[in-house]
Every structure is written in structure tokens, then in C-alpha cells.
């Protein structure tokens, strides 16, 4: 009995100590109010003599919540690596407003609840002036509620539309091309590239797939497309022959498959099995080597929209081209692998924030908000960003290209 109560009290204390101890950069008093960093950078600091690792001044802390573990790890890992690279490079080049940049990356384990806890920690303990996150849409939405309430800018790297389309949305900006944009790119390819009018849609029943279908329905008239049939499948479905058989009965001229791996790969294989030779247009969710690995030969001829980082030669803007080529070189040298579009999301996420800070010459939330809303023609890895008070997505359809799988590799389509 005695043992139990002593142990229970001790355990409570352990919890408190353990969790406060793992903050790392805990400031002494936990009484400080959230968010506003009282010290703004001294104006016009001579950054020139702060080369190397001898930057002076309080670090500017930017928080990031990414999924380095859990199902979204394939998204979170490249994002984290890009953030690390940017932090390293900018500190070597004199920091931000003459102060060192400190990017604190926390793992949300691909889980919205963990994202909530992580964001609390970034705002309360790390005193982040802005946060980037998350890798997945559910976590991003959960974070959004907190950053909006705290009045802290958040940069989203996930593509789900409702991140910016649903309130609260005054404190969130996005760097990844949103799903709707990718859908429109795919539809425009069907209309202008393939030149057909009747399509069937096979979509994942999750938020990604469902919103894809919704957007197709919304833009189809603009491109003169008719959806003759649609079928959904559950996310980890292993056999799509039933759905495809149903779709085939409506005689479409092209098939749009909107989902993330492994569903579209199963669809590709099943198409081959059914001996149904129809053009297959996929989502940006299959813009990875995994799709080809899973689908094997069935991946031949499949097209999908993606950002230009896969094909620097397709970039017309010289600034963006230079940026991407440098990113590819530096990233590969640092990590031994080429960057993918998740890396570019991570990169743009921090780049956009730093640009806003330098523009506003301050880290005050209100100033950042104004600077972000005023960001025009900012060259990022994912495209040229222009934000306004009402458009927090920043990119256009032209920022995406269509890629086709040929001989097990990617080629520029049309």
C-alpha cells in the first residue's frame, strides 16, 4: 500500500520531468505567453561578418512537424532532409536578418494527435515564430486549429484542398501544389493531350481520392469532358478487377485513376489482366519509383502530373531552373540521393518563410502575415509563388507537367 502511493506520486513527477526534459532548448521560465517573440532583430545588422558558424544574436526558431515515422515517413523524410539542407546553407551564408536560423523538426508519427502535441511543444517550449507542417493532411488540419488560435503562421506541405479552402485559413499558406491543381492538370492533359471526351474515374475512397473526383466534376465542363462512369475502392484494396469491369461497361475513352500507392498499381496490373487497352492517367500520388516497382510492366504508358523537379529541362523560367539544378546537386551531395517533390515541398516551406521574414524585417506574426500575403513571383522549387490575402496556394496549372512511364523510366509526356 505504502509502496503503491509512493510509487504513484513518483511516477507523476517522472512524467513531468521526462517530458519537460526532452525539449532540449527549454527556456527557463514556462510562464512566458505563447507566440510573440519580444526581441525583433536589430535593423540593418552587418551580416557580412557573420560568415561561417559565428552568427551572433538569438536564433530565429522555426518549427516543423513532419512524419519521420509511420505510414507518411516516405513523405516526411525527404521533407526533413530538405529542411536540414536549407538550414545549413542559410546559416553558412549569414543567417536570417543576421541571426542564425534554427529549424526544430518534430515527428508526428503520421498521427494527428501527435501533431497536436508537437505543435504545442513548438509554440510553448521552443517559442517558434512560425511552423511548417505537416506531411499528411490530417495532421496539417489538426495543426491548423492551433496555429490559427495562436495567431502563428503555418506553411502546409500537404495537398488536400480543405487546408486552405476551409476556415480558419488566415494563418496558413501552402507550398505544395494542391490536389485541385493536379486534377486540373490531368484533365487538361486528357482534353488537350489525348483529345478525348469520355472518361471513367476510379478513385480511392479516402479524402485524396474523393476530392479528386469532386474536382474532376467541377472542371470537366471547362475542358469539354464527360464522366461516363465512376467507381471507388478502399485505400488498401488488393483487387480492382470488379470495379474495372464495371467501368469498362460504359465504354470510356480514357481512365483517370486518382489515389496513392498501392491502389493505382493494382489498377494498372488488373487493367493488363483484363486485357483492356485504355489510356491511364494517374494522380501525382504515383509520381514515385514505388509505382513502377509495384506495377512492373503494367506501368508502361501511364501518365501523371507532377512538379518540374523531375525534369529540369522542362523549366522555362531561368531562375527556377538554376534553383532546381543547384538543389539537385547540393541535395545529392549531402544525402546521396536525388531530391523528389517532397524534398521540394520542404525546401519551399522554409524558403517562403525566410523570404517573408527578410521582407518584413521582423518575426512578429502580424508582419509575417502581411509579408506572406504580399509575396509575389517568388521563385521556389515547386514553382513561382504569388500569394494574396485570398489566395494562399500560390501556384498555377502551368507549374505542373505531365510525365509518362516509358521503359521503366520517366519521360516528358507530349
Amino acid at each position: 500500500m505504502h509502496k503503491i502511493l509512493v510509487a504513484a506520486v513518483a511516477a507523476c513527477l517522472v512524467v513531468v520531468v521526462l517530458f519537460s526534459g526532452c525539449g532540449g532548448t527549454t527556456t527557463g521560465s514556462s510562464e512566458a505567453s505563447a507566440g510573440t517573440d519580444a526581441t525583433t532583430a536589430p535593423a540593418g545588422t552587418a551580416a557580412a561578418d557573420s560568415q561561417g558558424d559565428q552568427l551572433t544574436g538569438d536564433p530565429i526558431v522555426i518549427g516543423a512537424v513532419v512524419s519521420t515515422t509511420g505510414p507518411n515517413a516516405p513523405l516526411g523524410e525527404p521533407e526533413r532532409m530538405a529542411l536540414e539542407l536549407f538550414e545549413k546553407q542559410i546559416n553558412a551564408a549569414g543567417g536570417v536578418l543576421g541571426r542564425p536560423l534554427d529549424v526544430v523538426v518534430l515527428d508526428d508519427q503520421s498521427n494527428a494527435k501527435e501533431a497536436v502535441t508537437a505543435t504545442q511543444r513548438l509554440l510553448q517550449q521552443e517559442k517558434a515564430v512560425a511552423v511548417i507542417g505537416a506531411s499528411g493532411s490530417a495532421s496539417t488540419l489538426a495543426m491548423k486549429a492551433i496555429t490559427a488560435q495562436a495567431g502563428i503562421p503555418q506553411i502546409a506541405m500537404a495537398a488536400s484542398n480543405n487546408i486552405t479552402s476551409e476556415p480558419p485559413s488566415d494563418w496558413i499558406w501552402r507550398v505544395a501544389p494542391k490536389d485541385d491543381l493536379a486534377v486540373e492538370r490531368a484533365v487538361s492533359h486528357v482534353a488537350e493531350g489525348l483529345r478525348v471526351t469520355k472518361i471513367a474515374v476510379l478513385y480511392d475512397e479516402n479524402a485524396f481520392g474523393s476530392s479528386g473526383l469532386a474536382q474532376i466534376e467541377k472542371v470537366k465542363d471547362r475542358y469539354g469532358i464527360e464522366v461516363v462512369a465512376k467507381e471507388s475502392y478502399k485505400t488498401d484494396e488488393t483487387d480492382l478487377t470488379a470495379q474495372l469491369t464495371k467501368l469498362k461497361g460504359s465504354n470510356p475513352e480514357a481512365l483517370i485513376v486518382w489515389g496513392t500507392n498501392p491502389g493505382p498499381a493494382v489498377a494498372a496490373k488488373n487493367l493488363k489482366q483484363l486485357a483492356w487497352d485504355i489510356p491511364y492517367v494517374g494522380s501525382h500520388g504515383i509520381a514515385n519509383a514505388k509505382f513502377i516497382e509495384l506495377a512492373g510492366e503494367a506501368a508502361e504508358g501511364v501518365t501523371f502530373p507532377t512538379t518540374k523537379i523531375l525534369f529540369p529541362e522542362s523549366i522555362t523560367d531561368p531562375e527556377q531552373k538554376a534553383l532546381i539544378e543547384k538543389l539537385i546537386t547540393d541535395y545529392t551531395a549531402e544525402f546521396g540521393q536525388a531530391p523528389n517533390h517532397f524534398s521540394s515541398h520542404g525546401w519551399d516551406g522554409i524558403a517562403v518563410l525566410v523570404a517573408a521574414i527578410e521582407q518584413a524585417k521582423s518575426t512578429e506574426p502580424a508582419a509575417l502575415q502581411a509579408a506572406l500575403n504580399g509575396l509575389t513571383d517568388f521563385t521556389g522549387a515547386d514553382g513561382i509563388f504569388t500569394y494574396t490575402a485570398t489566395d494562399h496556394d500560390g501556384l498555377k496549372v502551368d507549374d505542373l507537367i505531365m510525365v509518362r512511364v516509358e521503359g521503366g523510366k520517366w519521360a516528358l509526356a507530349q
Binding site: M1, H2, K3, I4, L5, A8, V9, A11, C12, V14, V15, V16, L18, F19, S20, C22, G23, S30, E31, A34, T68, T69, D107, N111, A112, K113, V116, T117, Q120, R121, L123, Q124, Q125, S137, A138, L141, A142, A145, S160, N162, E166, E205, N206, A207, S210, K234
Partner: protein, 326 residues
């Protein structure tokens, strides 16, 4: 069981004073820290504790296993979310309504399956859990599918607004501690002793006049209610619900909490909750992915090594667990 209220109270205090100290310690935490991060850890621990206590009653006391308890938590969370955001129901009323629904469903499932062998309830609850998960995704009009429901308002009661982390901590822990107290007293009550008899031998219990099916059903329903209330609290705290918080994996981890904490006494629920919160943090220092592996292996080890009839290992166990209860 003699005497009136005064002797009951005077026996209550000394027997439960370890509980009293725990309660005071936990409730005083907000006095020592205003850090929202730490308070959020405690907030999640409180609701987890509620579920684990309920599950302990089912597993430890009645010897029945539920592999779908995450679904009851989900019922509470979504019940509150939908009623409050779609139908403008008072959050407290919604909490009660969801709990009633959970109890009803538990009753429906329990009546046919509690007659069958233990693993049938396990499978039935597993199946039920999966069905709920599927429904949460499919009934998009009601639940918003995988997008989840956002904008759930925080709880408030008159002038008290529970979006203040410290107030919320008090609220949620008071409720959790009430559950714990109920469970403590249940263990020593008529129902509790009947259930413990049941765990030893159903036949013997029946021959002594214990209505086993009805008792098991009561406990199952009670555990469902605890889970549902916990879910409702979480929904108002995170202000967001989504289907992937209520999966089979979560149910299994809950069972792990009870097993690892020990199901000899209700205090096992305290240990279980603590361990489930602390252990992952420690394990992640070594290997980020290994948490569930450790849990899985741990419960195998515990269950294999645990009830040793005699010998030095048994004595060691008795020592560690304190006085063995009936």
C-alpha cells in the same frame, strides 16, 4: 457488511488513502506548471486512463477480452462531434447520449457472445471494431469520411471555459479519478467479488448463485461507457476527430496497457497508463519503430511467466504486487 454510513466512511478513508494521495498529486500538477505541452500529455493520459480502467474491469475482473475497444472510444468521439457540430446539441448532453449509445451497442454485442468462449468475444469485438471503422469512413454525409470533423468546440460549464489547459486538466482528471474510485469500490463490492469468482471458475460461481451472464454484461457495458466518455473528452480537447484514431491497432495497444499494468488489482490500470505513456518515449530513443514490438513481446512474456503457482518466482511476484487480493 455491517454498520451505517459513519463506519463505512471511516473504513473508506484508511483503505483508500493511497488513492487520495494519488488524486491530490495529480490534481496539483497544474499548480506547478503552466506548460501546455506537459499539460497536454496529462490530458491524454487522463482519457487513456479512463479507457484502461474500464478495460481492466472487463479483462482483469471478469476475464473477458475486447479487441474492439477503440471503436467505443470512437463512438464517444464521433457521437459528440456529430451531435455538437451538426445538431447543435449541448456538449454535455451529447457526451451522455454517446455513452448511452455505447452501452446499448455493448449490450447488443454482449448478449449473444458472452455465452461463448473467450476468444469468440475477442473475435466479435474485433469484427465490431472493424465495422465501426469502416462506417466512420463510408458514411461520409454523417462523418465526413477520412477528412474527419473539425471545429469541435471546447467544453465549457457556465463561467468555466475548458479551453484553458489547467482547468481542463482538473476537469478531466476529476472524472478519471471518479472512475478509478468507482472501480476500486467495485472490486470490493458484491459485483466485484462475484466477478473475481467467475474468473476462477464459471461453474463454481454459478453453483454459488452468481448470475454470470448478467454480471459479465454489466461489466462490458460499463467498460464501453468509460471508453465512450473518454472519446468525447478527447474530441473536445483536440477539436478534431478522424477515423484513423480508432483502429484495431489502438484496441490492441489498449489491451496491452491492461496486461502490462497487471490485472491483479485496479492499480494495474495506473501502471498500465503510465507505462503506455512513458515506455514509448524511452524506446524511441533507441529505435523509433520498435515500440509495438516491445509491447507485443512484453505481453507474451508477462502472460507466460505470470501466474506461477509456487516457488521463488511466485514469492517474488507476490512481493512485487503487494498483498494478493482474493
Amino acid at each position: 457488511m455491517s454498520g451505517g454510513t459513519s463506519s463505512r466512511v471511516s473504513r473508506f478513508v484508511p483503505r483508500n488513502w493511497s488513492f487520495a494521495v494519488l488524486a491530490v498529486a495529480v490534481l496539483l500538477v497544474p499548480a506547478f506548471t503552466r506548460d501546455t505541452y506537459i499539460l497536454s500529455i496529462f490530458a491524454f493520459m487522463a482519457t487513456r486512463f479512463m479507457v484502461v480502467v474500464g478495460l481492466w474491469l472487463l479483462l482483469g475482473l471478469a476475464g473477458q477480452i475486447s479487441l474492439g475497444h477503440a471503436a467505443f472510444v470512437g463512438l464517444g468521439a464521433y457521437g459528440s462531434a456529430i451531435l455538437v457540430t451538426r445538431a447543435d446539441v449541448n456538449p454535455w448532453l451529447a457526451l451522455v447520449m454517446s455513452a448511452v449509445l455505447a452501452a446499448a451497442i455493448a449490450g447488443l454485442i454482449g448478449i449473444p457472445t458472452l455465452k461463448l468462449k473467450g476468444h469468440y468475444l475477442a473475435m466479435a469485438t474485433m469484427g465490431f471494431g472493424e465495422i465501426i471503422h469502416i462506417l466512420l469512413i463510408q458514411l461520409k454525409g454523417l462523418t465526413n469520411g477520412t477528412d474527419g470533423i473539425t471545429g469541435i468546440p471546447p467544453l465549457s460549464l457556465g463561467p468555466l471555459n475548458f479551453s484553458d489547459p489547467r482547468l481542463y486538466h482538473l476537469l478531466v482528471w476529476v472524472v478519471a479519478l471518479i472512475f478509478f474510485l468507482l472501480a476500486l469500490n467495485l472490486t470490493n463490492s458484491r459485483l466485484g467479488r462475484a466477478l473475481q469468482a467467475l474468473r476462477r471458475s464459471e461453474v463454481a460461481a454459478q453453483s454459488l448463485g452468481v448470475d454470470t451472464s448478467w454480471r459479465k454484461l454489466q461489466v462490458f457495458m460499463l467498460s464501453a461507457v468509460a471508453a465512450s466518455i473518454a472519446g468525447s473528452f478527447d474530441a473536445h480537447y483536440v477539436q478534431f476527430v478522424s477515423p484513423d484514431s480508432f483502429t484495431l491497432n489502438v484496441s490492441v495497444i489498449l489491451v496491452c496497457s491492461v496486461v502490462i499494468g497487471g490485472f491483479r488489482s485496479v492499480w494495474g490500470a495506473v501502471w498500465g497508463t503510465l507505462l503506455i505513456t512513458i515506455l514509448p518515449e524511452i524506446i524511441k530513443r533507441f529505435n523509433e519503430d520498435a515500440v509495438n514490438l516491445v509491447f507485443g513481446l512484453l505481453i507474451i512474456v508477462i502472460v507466460v511467466l505470470l501466474p506461477v503457482k509456487s516457488g521463488p518466482l511466485a514469492r517474488l511476484q507476490l512481493l512485487l504486487r503487494g498483498r494478493e487480493r482474493l
